[in-house]
Symmetry: C2
Subunit: 435 residues, 2 copies
C-alpha cells in the first residue's frame, strides 16, 4: 500500500496529525502498537486526571468513602470512550489504521510487525513520528505492585496507602502527591534537585510549596536523589544518593519520562537525537531525515498533549504548504492540575530586555468572595515592543488564565492592549484587565 503520510503512534499527537492530514486530502495511515489513545489515555494523562478529579471531590465534600473500584471503572470507561471516539473520527476522515509495531530504517522503508508476528511493508512520502514517551525505571527502582506503583499502575493498589513515598517532584509526582494527600494519605515527596517543578518560575513554585504543606501537609524533601526503592515486608524503603533512608507503606515512581525511539531500526547516527535521547527537530518539526517529522513527547519536553497537538498542526501544515506558509511553533501552556493549579507559558526567565508585572489574587473581587486569595500571576513583557514573552500563574483558574494569555501571545496582542479589554466581572481572569 502507498500512502502520502504515515503517522506512527496512536496517542493525542498522532491522532491530531493523522486527522489534520486526512482532512487536508492526504492519503493517510496510522500505525499503533497499542489501543488508540496511546499511553496518554491508558497510562498517564487520563488516569492521573481522573485521580485528581476524585481527590478534589473528596477534598471539597470531606467524605471519607473513597471507592477505588469506582475510580478504576471510571478510568477504564474514559479510555474506552476516547479510543472509540478517535477511531470514529479517524475512520470517518479516511485514515487507514494498522495495529502493530512500526519499524523504520529510512524514510522509504517502513514495516509493520503485526500481532500475528508477520511483517508488512508500507510505502509513503512522509512519516510523522508520534511514538510518545515511557516512564523511566531502573533495576533498583521499578514498579512492584501493589506496594510500589507508578502512574499506569495506580489503580492496581488494593487500598489507599497510609504513608506514601513519592519519588519525583515534576508534574506527575506533584499531581499524584496532591491527589493522595487530598484523600488523607500522608505523603513524603522526594525531589532530586533543589526545587519542585524546575520548569516553572521559582517565586511561584515557592508559594506553591508553602501551600502544598499548609493545605495538604505534603512534606517535600529536596536534594534527595532516590537511588533505590524496595519492598521490605510491609514497608517500602527509599535510599537516597546522600545516604538518607525514608520508609512508607507504599512507594510511587514518578522519576521522569523518556522518548520512545524503539521504532528506529536504521543506523543510529542517521536519526539525530538530543542529549536526553529525544528526536531532534527544527521549528517545523522536521527531523534530521528529509520527509520524516516528529511531534509530541518523542521530541522531548514539554511533554503535554497541547504541545503535541500544536506540533502536529505545524508538521502537517509544513509538509502541505512548505516553510513560507506553514504554521509556526508557538508557546503552549504547561499545567499542573493540583487543587490549586500552577503552570507556565513561554519564556519566563529574567532578562535585561524584559519587565515583569505581578498580580496577586488578593486584589480580585472573585477571589475575595470565594475566600480563595492564595495565588499570583506573573507576566513577562519585552521592554521595547510591549509584547508578552511568557507568564506563570498559581491559583484558582490559573490554567484558564494562561490559556487566555496564550491566545494574546499567538495573536501578538501587546500587554497594554490586552489589559484594555474589560473581562467579565467578577472572574479570576480579571487579573488581566484590572487597572
Amino acid at each position: 500500500m502507498k500512502y502520502d503520510i504515515i503517522v506512527i503512534g496512536g496517542g493525542p499527537g498522532g491522532h491530531e496529525a493523522a486527522l489534520a492530514a486526512a482532512q487536508s486530502g492526504l492519503k493517510t495511515a496510522m500505525v499503533s502498537d497499542m489501543a488508540l489513545g496511546g499511553r496518554a489515555t491508558w497510562g498517564s494523562l487520563v488516569p492521573s486526571k481522573v485521580w485528581l478529579e476524585e481527590a478534589h471531590k473528596v477534598l471539597l465534600t470531606g467524605h471519607e468513602n473513597f471507592d477505588l473500584g469506582r475510580l478504576r471503572g471510571k478510568i477504564k470507561a474514559q479510555g474506552q470512550r476516547i479510543a472509540q471516539n478517535m477511531r470514529i473520527r479517524l475512520e470517518s476522515a479516511g485514515v487507514a489504521i494498522y495495529e502493530g509495531k512500526a519499524e523504520l530504517a529510512s524514510a522509504e522503508c517502513l514495516s509493520v510487525v503485526l500481532p500475528t508476528g508477520t511483517s508488512i511493508e508500507l510505502e509513503t512520502r512522509f512519516v510523522v513520528l508520534a511514538t510518545g514517551s515511557e516512564p523511566i525505571f531502573t533495576p533498583e527502582m521499578k514498579p512492584m505492585p501493589p506496594r510500589i506503583i507508578a502512574p499506569r499502575l495506580a489503580g492496581a493498589m488494593e487500598a489507599l496507602p497510609s504513608r506514601l513515598l513519592m519519588v519525583g517532584g515534576g508534574v506527575t509526582g506533584v499531581e499524584y502527591a496532591s491527589a493522595f494527600a487530598a484523600m488523607g494519605v500522608e505523603v513524603i515527596l522526594l525531589q532530586r534537585g533543589p526545587s519542585l517543578l524546575p520548569r516553572i518560575d521559582a517565586e511561584l513554585v515557592e508559594a506553591f510549596e508553602r501551600w502544598l504543606f499548609a493545605t495538604l501537609r505534603i512534606k517535600v524533601v529536596k536534594n534527595a536523589a532516590t537511588v533505590s526503592l524496595k519492598v521490605e515486608g510491609e514497608t517500602v524503603v527509599a535510599h537516597t544518593a546522600s545516604g538518607q533512608m525514608y520508609t512508607g507503606s507504599h512507594g510511587f515512581i514518578a522519576a521522569g519520562r523518556r522518548a520512545d525511539t524503539t521504532f528506529w531500526k536504521g543506523e543510529p547516527h542517521l536519526l539525530a537525537l538530543t542529549p536526553e535521547g529525544a528526536v531532534k527537530i527544527n521549528d517545523f518539526c522536521q527531523t534530521s531525515i528529509p520527509g520524516i517529522y516528529a511531534v509530541g513527547d518523542v521530541t522531548g519536553a514539554p511533554m503535554t498533549v497541547n504541545h503535541a497537538q500544536m506540533q502536529a498542526r505545524v508538521a502537517v501544515s509544513h509538509l502541505l504548504y512548505g516553510t513560507e506558509k506553514a504554521l509556526r511553533r508557538k508557546p503552549t501552556v504547561e499545567a499542573v492540575y493540583t487543587p490549586l493549579p500552577i503552570g507556565q507559558l513561554g519564556d519566563t526567565t529574567a532578562s535585561d530586555e524584559a519587565y515583569f508585572v505581578v498580580k496577586p489574587y488578593e486584589a480580585l473581587l472573585k477571589a475575595q468572595i470565594a475566600e480563595d486569595i492564595t495565588g499570583m500571576l506573573k507576566v513577562k513583557m519585552d521592554k521595547q515592543t510591549g509584547q508578552i514573552l511568557g507568564a506563570s500563574a498559581f491559583g484558582s483558574q490559573a490554567i484558564e488564565i494562561l490559556g487566555l494569555i496564550q491566545i494574546a501571545m499567538h495573536a501578538n496582542i501587546p500587554w497594554e492592549a490586552l489589559r484594555a479589554y474589560p473581562l467579565p466581572h467578577p472572574t479570576y481572569s480579571e487579573l488581566l484587565s484590572q487597572l
Copy 2:
C-alpha cells in the same frame, strides 16, 4: 474649584473613569452621594455574588448549617474593603472626592448639595455621568422586609424562606433564585415574558431552564406578569395580569432596573434619553450635550460592571484624544453566575450572512472526567470574513470561555485562527481548540 473632568457617581464605572482620567494627567473630581463602590458594591452586584458563592458551597458540601449572620458580615466586609481600596486608588491618583448629591443643568453648571444641605458650585471642562441604576418598584410591588425583599435587602431576612416567590426572570432574578434553591428553598419564578433571560440565545436558555428544574427544582412560570405582591399574615401573595395567584412564605422583587437620572435639573429636552429612560449616547459615550459623557447603567442595558468599565475607558480616551484615536466600544460579556453559569457576548441573532458552530460539553475530556457534561458553546461567525460576531455559552467555566472569545473578537482573530491555538489540556476552554 475648576477641574478638567468631573465624574458623577462612585460605582465601578465612575471609579474606572476617574482613575483613567487622573492617571492621564487630567485634574479630576468625583462626586458621589453614597459610600464609594456605589449601588453595585452596596446593593446589587457584591451582595448577590456573596450569596451565590455561599449557595455554591452549600450545594457542594451538602451541609445544612447555613449562617445568615455570617453572610451578612461577609457582604459588609467586602463592601468596606472595596470602598477603602477605591478611596486609596483614587486619592493616590490625585482625584478629589466630593460627598454629596450632584445637580446638573448644563455642561457648565454643576453644583453639589453637601450632606449639610449647603450647595457648592464646581467648574469643569468635561462631565462623565456614572450615576448607575436603581431597582424598579411600584406601589403594588415594593419591598416589605422581612417578608418581601429585593437584592439590597436580601440580608434583612430573619431566616431562609420555606417557599419563595421570585418576581423576574432576568439576570438578578435567576441568580438569586438559584442561590435560594441551592440552599434548599422551594422557589417559584414568575417571569413576565415567554422565556427567561431574553438577551441570551433561546436554544441555550432552553437547556439552562431544563437544568434549573432538574438540578435545583426551580419552577419557572412564564407569561406571568406580576402586578402585585403583598404580605397577608404569614403569607406572601402574588397576582398576575392574567388573574393567576401564587403564594409563598416570602417574595423577592427582581423586576428590572432603571437608569438614575435624578441628577438632571436642566430642561428635560436638552439631555436626550432612550425610550427606556436611559441617557442616550453615541459610540464614544457622548451624550446629546457637548462635553458631557455617560457610562455604565445610566446608559441602559447591558447593566454590567465590565460594560461600564469598557465605556469609561472609551469616554476618557475620546475626551483626551478625539474621535480618530479613541478606543472603540466593543462587545463585553453578559454573565449569569448560577452554579452552572450562562452568558453571552456580542451579536448572537440568526442571519443569512452568518454561520454558527455549536460545541457540546459532552465531547470534552475535562467535562467527562468531572462528570459535568451539561452545557454547550455556540459561536456566530461572518460567512465572508470568518470574524467572530458573538457567542453564547452555558456550562462550567462558560464565562471564562466567553472572556477568551472576547479577547479574540477585540483583536480581530478569526475563528479558524483561534481554533488553531491548542489550549491547555484537559480544560473547558478546549471547547475552542478541538479539531
